[in-house]
Symmetry: C2
Subunit: 327 residues, 2 copies
DNA sequence: CGCCATTATGACAACGTTGTCTCCTCATGG
DNA sequence: CCATGAGGAGACAACGTTGTCATAATGGCG
C-alpha cells in the first residue's frame, strides 16, 4: 500500500480511502491512485484489514467425515449456498471419523477466527469447544449430536425412519429381517439400530440379534455379512442397509446372487431408482439438513442468543420395489 | 494475550514464547502462563501471527464448478489429502460454471493470501490472474486449461478417450452413433466432441452432425435428445454420454424405453457396474487428477520456478456390457 | 572477589490495514 | 474583509502477534 501511495504521490491513508470507496477523495487523486494500484497489481491484505477492523474473517468452518462422500458433498454444497448468501466462504475439513482430527480441525479453525463452525462430530467429547463457544464462536452440530455439551443441533429422524423401514417390510410379509449398520460408535448408526429394534417390537416381530451386523462398511465386511445372514436355508428374507455406503456395498455383494432379498436403504442415493429392482429407501433431504444448520449458524453469528435449539428433520420412505419383494 | 500476561504476571512476549514453545522460559513461569491460558480460554490469533511473520496463511483455494457434484467432491477430497500432508487447509468455492463468479472467488482467495489456487476454470479469460501470479500466488488449472495465459495445467485425455469410445462401439457393429455432450463452451465437452468426430473419421464412420446434441444436461434437454435421436426408425443404435451428468440423465430418460441402445459414458460413476446392463465407461482417475494438480501446486509453493507444465493423464475404457449391445 | 557466559525476561518496533483527529485550502455570506 | 464551513488530505495509533535487542539475575571460574 505504501508503494502505491508513493507512486501516486499521496499518503497511504488516501490509498486506503480509495480502495474502500470512502467519499472525500478528489476524483483526480483517486484516478492517480487507481492507476498506481493497477500498475503495481496491488491487492489489499484482508488479514490485516480484519485484524485492524476487528471485523469477522468472513469464513465459516465445516467439518465432516469425508468431503468426498456424496452425502457430505451435498451437505457441503447446501452450506456453501447459504454461506455465499451471507457473503461468507467455507473452510472444509474431513475428520475421517477420527475424533482427534475433528478436534484439531475445529481448534485450527477457531485460531483462524472463523465466524462459526458446523460440525458433523466424529467423537463424543466436545468439552474442548466450550471455551471457544464462550469466546463467541458459534458451533452447530449436524447429522449427529454433540457428545457431552449442550449446543445447537440439527438431526434427521433416524429412529422414526428405521421404524418405518421395518414396518414397510413387515407389511410385505417379512418376518426375518437383517440389519446391516455402520459402526455402533456412530450416533446415526446406533440410533437406526435402536429404530430397528423398536420397529421389530412394534410390529410384533422378534428382534433377533444374530441378524444384526454393525461394522464399518467395506466390501469385505459386507460380503461377509451377506454370506452369514443372507445365504442358506435360514437366511433373512429382507435386509435394511443402515446408510448409503452399506447399501452400495450390499448391492455389489448381491450382484451375482441368484436371488436378491427385499431391501430398504436408509439414505437415498443416486441411481437407486434405476437399479433392478429399484431400491426402496428412507430418504431425507440432505440439502435441507445443510440449509437448516447453516441458517441456524448465521442466526447465531448475527447475535441470536436464545437457548440452544434441537431440530429434527423428517424422513420419508420412498417405495420403489425392492422392499415389496415377497418373502 | 495481554490478559494472559497480566494474569500470569509476565510480559506478553513471555506468553508468546510459551505458546510458541520457544526455549529459555523458566518451567515455573511457563506453568503459570499455561494455567492463565487455560483459565481464560486463550487461543492465539493466527491472522495476526501470519501478518507479523509474513509467513503463509496455510490455506489453499480450490475453485470447482460445484462442490456437490460427486466428480468434484472426489477431486476436493484428493486435494484435501495432499494439502493436509503439507499442513494446509482448503478453502473451497463453487463457480457454478460462471466466469464472473470464478474470478470473484479467485481474487477473494488472493486477497486472503492463500498460498496457492487450484482452479477448474469456468471462463476462458484468465488475464486477471496474471498480477496475482506475478505477485507470487501460484495457480494450477485442472480438468480444463486456462483460457488465455500460460500456466500449469493438469488434464485428462479427453480426445483419446472419446476416440476409444467410438472405436469400441464401431467394433461392436455400430455405424449410427449419437453424441450427447455438455455445453460446447466447456473445454472438456468441446474436446470430447472433437474426439467423437476424430473417432468417426478414424473408424470410417461418417460423422453426422444431426446425431450430436451439446447442451447443459438437465432431465428436459436429455429427454428431448432421446426423443429426437434415439427413437424411431432412423434412431442411432448407440450413444456416447459426454460426462457423468449426461449419463445419469440419459439412463433415467431411457429407463422406461423398451430398448436401451448401446452406450458408453465418459466419466465413471458409482453403481454404473450394477445397472442392467452395466454401463461401459471411459474411466479416469479423478483422485489422480486432484493429486497431480495439488502436488504441482505445492511444488510451486515451495519455490519450483521451472517452466509451466502441462500434464495429461491417461484414461481407459472399462467394458461392462452396455457398449457391447448389438446394433 | 570480580568478570564473563548463560539464562530468563521485558521493551519496543513492525507486519498491512483503518479509525480518529487535525490541518490546510478555498468558497460563501454578511 | 473576516468568520464559517465544507472538502480534501495526512499524521498517528491501534488491531494481535513475533523478531530484535537490551537488561537483569544467576553461576562458574580464575
Amino acid at each position: 500500500m505504501s508503494d502505491v501511495a508513493r507512486l501516486a504521490g499521496v499518503s497511504i491513508k488516501t490509498v486506503s480511502r480509495v480502495v474502500n470507496d470512502e467519499p472525500a477523495v478528489h476524483p483526480d487523486t483517486a484516478e492517480r491512485v487507481v492507476a498506481a494500484i493497477e500498475q503495481l497489481g496491488f491487492r489489499r491484505n484482508l488479514g490485516a484489514r480484519n485484524l485492524r477492523r476487528g471485523s469477522t474473517t468472513g469464513t465459516i468452518g465445516l467439518i465432516v467425515e469425508d468431503v468426498g462422500n456424496p452425502f457430505y458433498s451435498e451437505l457441503n454444497r447446501a452450506v456453501e449456498r447459504i454461506a455465499t448468501s451471507f457473503g461468507r466462504h467455507v473452510l472444509t475439513g474431513s475428520s475421517e471419523e477420527n475424533s482427534d482430527r475433528e478436534r484439531e480441525l475445529a481448534l485450527e479453525f477457531c485460531a483462524r477466527r472463523v465466524d462459526g463452525i458446523l460440525v458433523v462430530p466424529a467423537g463424543m467429547q466436545h468439552g474442548y469447544l466450550v471455551p471457544e463457544m464462550r469466546a463467541g464462536t458459534p458451533v452447530v452440530f449436524l447429522d449427529r449430536p454433540a457428545g457431552d455439551i449442550v449446543a445447537d443441533t440439527v438431526l434427521v429422524d433416524n429412529l422414526g425412519g428405521t421404524i418405518d423401514a421395518v414396518t414397510h417390510l413387515v407389511r410385505h410379509g417379512h418376518r426375518r429381517i437383517a440389519f446391516l449398520g455402520d459402526s455402533p460408535d456412530i450416533f446415526t448408526a446406533a440410533e437406526r439400530l435402536r429404530g430397528f429394534r423398536e420397529g421389530c417390537v412394534r410390529n410384533g416381530v422378534s428382534y433377533d440379534e444374530s441378524l444384526v451386523v454393525m461394522r464399518t462398511p467395506t466390501p469385505e465386511t459386507i460380503a461377509h455379512a451377506v454370506a452369514t445372514l443372507l445365504t442358506g436355508p435360514s437366511a433373512a428374507t429382507a435386509v435394511i442397509a443402515g446408510n448409503n455406503r452399506v447399501a452400495v456395498h450390499l448391492l455389489r455383494a448381491l450382484a451375482h446372487a441368484e436371488h436378491r432379498p427385499a431391501m430398504v436403504s436408509f439414505d437415498d442415493f443416486e441411481l437407486a431408482d434405476l437399479l433392478d429392482p429399484p431400491v426402496t429407501v428412507v430418504a431425507h433431504d440432505v440439502s435441507a439438513l445443510g440449509h437448516a444448520a447453516a441458517e441456524l449458524l448465521f442466526a447465531r453469528i448475527q447475535g441470536d442468543q436464545s437457548a440452544p435449539r434441537k431440530v429434527v428433520l423428517p424422513v420419508h420412505l420412498v417405495a420403489r420395489g425392492s422392499g415389496e419383494v415377497a418373502p
